[in-house]
């Protein structure tokens, strides 16, 4: 199925917020093509080994369900300690670069 293009890699990079260089776009296109070509075997595996049976996907090997916690407060972090780790802070808030307009 693959044959991933430079443009597709550029799209993936945008979706994943990576400011890839031109060289990287070309390089990753080649590598992802090889990797995807190899991992695409999973569909074939399902057909060959599944032998027409219904094979539900397993997103988690754990057989657990209904793990919850009671609605009871736990201690919070000290905001000063948390904000001391932030690249920028102001007025006890995280300072972030301008967010492009929604309106």
């Amino acid at each position: 199925m693959p044959a991933i293009t430079r443009e597709e890699v550029a799209h993936l990079a945008r979706l994943s917020r990576l400011d890839l260089s031109e060289d990287e776009l070309v390089h990753y296109a080649e590598q992802l093509d090889v990797i995807l070509g190899s991992v695409a075997r999973v569909s074939e595996a399902v057909q060959q080994l599944g032998q027409g049976q219904d094979i539900p996907p397993t997103s988690h090997a754990l057989p657990l369900v209904n793990v919850t916690r009671p609605d009871v407060e736990r201690p919070c972090l000290d905001p000063a300690e948390v904000l001391a780790q932030a690249p920028a802070a102001q007025d006890q808030r995280f300072r972030v670069p301008r967010i492009l307009g929604e309106d």
Binding site: R14, H60, V65, R69, E73, R74, C76, I99, D103
Partner: protein, 501 residues
């Protein structure tokens, strides 16, 4: 850029050619003590970032654990909306980058919501509309950004933003309707009535205060138009985060007109998100994305599935309170009022006030009379909600009780209410301070009667002769003499007795 209303067809003209189709998505913040996936408190108005922990800040290594009460609330909402409750469902990750969102994915539910396939009956435009519910699912809220620089508080032109994550991770229930068709010209009204009814239901369940002005409940309104007689839906717009009932109605009405203008001009409606502007009732497009959003949903691997036991769901069904619709029907029957009167009571926001007044001992018709009469008139004058008047159901019940006991007549009761509203204290206080009690001392009344008889001997003679007509004149004189504080019925009784002997 806001679309101006100048070039839009009138609402009536728009409806003349098209049928509107709506889809309403309502987010409700649950009133749990702690957040959806961590033990941070949810209280409103705390200092920024004081209600945060590794989990709701998305710190590396942190993990979510589901709040049991949030699940319970979601199921109760689902049941109240006549939904099926999933036997097994999961959380999923909705992936997109936004600084408000600490993990850059929202933990939500995707194709496996906890509740689905329900309905809510809504009264609007004199009839009942069954709004079908597609799903109700659980998710988490985001943090809150304050935009600094540029136009005040607006995102556009801001130099930078400040983020407070206190709200990040507060549990949300998102309730999504199926496409609402067939409402025609009533679409905006039905939309408003639906959100209002949903809010009542949420409040009745006690799962949230659902205060729209605080953002505890907000509505995304999808609107599309199709020419009359056409089966296929048109392209929709989604107006985000509409946060009052009135705005829901206005936003839908505006979008109907805007879509009609686009279609009338032979253009195609763009599928986009839009923002509603309270000031002029218009909407404007959200940021145009270069490429289609692809949220790459997948099952949240840090959580395990939710599989509510059927017995538990049954048990929760048993805990549902009387729901607003059923309650209204019951009260209407109990009070013996017409559909029209009931609608007036609802519109005036008087249901709970009357119920409470009755619960404090007042007769229903009396409670209704005062709230929907004198008090409604005064609220109207003051341009405030009935509930905002400075008088309590207990005080109204007291006035009713004083009247029933013959200690006040209607006229005096109105003066007492005026005093209470003026801050003169309880009804008893006002009666005492203003000296408003009914003169119930027969001796005093008889003295006044004798004076009246002496003053109007002709009238008295006629009454003695069996003609009761002129009695009114005599009673009026007595009332005047007692400055209206006599019980007119008692005066008549005493007068007739006096002139018959």
């Amino acid at each position: 850029m806001s679309t101006s209303t100048v070039n839009l067809p009138s609402y009536e003209d728009a409806l003349a050619s098209y049928d509107p189709v709506m889809g309403l998505e309502v987010h409700v913040e649950l009133g749990t003590a702690t957040k959806m996936f961590c033990g941070c408190p949810t209280g409103f108005g705390a200092d920024p970032n004081t209600q945060t922990c590794p989990t709701c800040l998305g710190l590396p290594g942190s993990l979510p654990v589901v709040n049991a009460t949030a699940i319970e609330s979601a199921i109760r909402i689902g049941l109240a909306l006549n939904c099926d409750i999933a036997e097994w469902c999961r959380f999923a990750r909705k992936n997109y980058f936004y600084p408000d969102m600490p993990k850059n994915f929202q933990t939500s539910q995707y194709d496996e919501p906890i509740a689905f396939n329900g309905y809510l009956d809504v009264e609007a435009a004199g009839r009942t509309w069954r709004i079908e519910i597609e799903r109700a699912h659980m998710e988490e809220d985001t943090g809150k950004s304050t935009h600094v620089g540029g136009a005040t508080g607006r995102i556009h032109g801001a130099e930078y933003s400040l983020v407070d994550y206190n709200r990040a991770g507060i549990p949300l229930i998102e309730i999504v309707t199926k496409p609402i068709t067939g409402t025609g010209e009533h679409a905006p009204e039905v939309a408003k009535a639906y959100v209002a009814e949903l809010r009542e239901l949420i409040k009745a369940l006690g799962v949230s205060e659902a205060r729209m002005e605080l953002g505890q409940m907000r509505c995304d309104a999808n609107v599309s138009l199709r020419p009359h007689g056409r089966e296929k839906f048109g392209t929709r717009s989604e107006t985000k985060n509409v946060n009052s009932l009135r705005s829901v109605e206005r936003a839908v009405a505006f979008e109907i007109r805007r879509h009609a203008a686009v279609l009338d001009a032979g253009d195609t409606v763009v599928q986009e998100t839009r923002h509603f502007h309270e000031n002029d009732g218009t909407t404007s497009p959200g940021r145009v994305k270069e490429e289609a959003e692809d949220y790459r949903y997948f099952p949240e691997p840090d959580l395990v599935p939710v599989a509510p036991a059927r017995e538990w769901v049954q048990e929760l069904r048993g805990t549902l309170p009387e729901l607003p619709g059923a309650r209204r029907k019951r009260l209407q029957a109990e009070w013996g009022v017409t559909d029209h009167d009931m609608q007036s009571i609802l519109n005036a926001g008087a249901v709970d006030l009357i119920v409470e007044t009755v619960s404090l001992g007042a007769a229903a018709d009396q409670a209704r009379k005062w709230w929907m009469g004198e008090l409604a008139r005064r609220a109207n004058e003051a341009e405030v909600d009935l509930g905002a008047l400075p008088i309590t159901p207990a005080q109204v019940a007291e006035v009713v009780a004083l009247t029933a006991a013959g200690k006040l007549n209607d006229k005096l009761a109105r003066q007492v209410i005026e005093g209470v509203l003026a801050g003169e204290g309880s009804p008893q206080d006002v009666v005492a301070k203003r000296g408003l009690a009914v003169v119930s001392d027969d001796g005093a009344l008889l003295a006044a009667i004798d004076e009246a008889v002496a003053a109007f001997p002709d009238a008295a003679e006629k009454v003695r002769g069996g003609n009761q007509g002129p009695a009114g004149q005599l009673i009026g004189a007595v009332m005047k003499a007692t400055r209206g504080q006599a019980d007119a019925a008692r005066v008549r009784e005493l007068l007739l007795k006096r002139l018959s002997s």
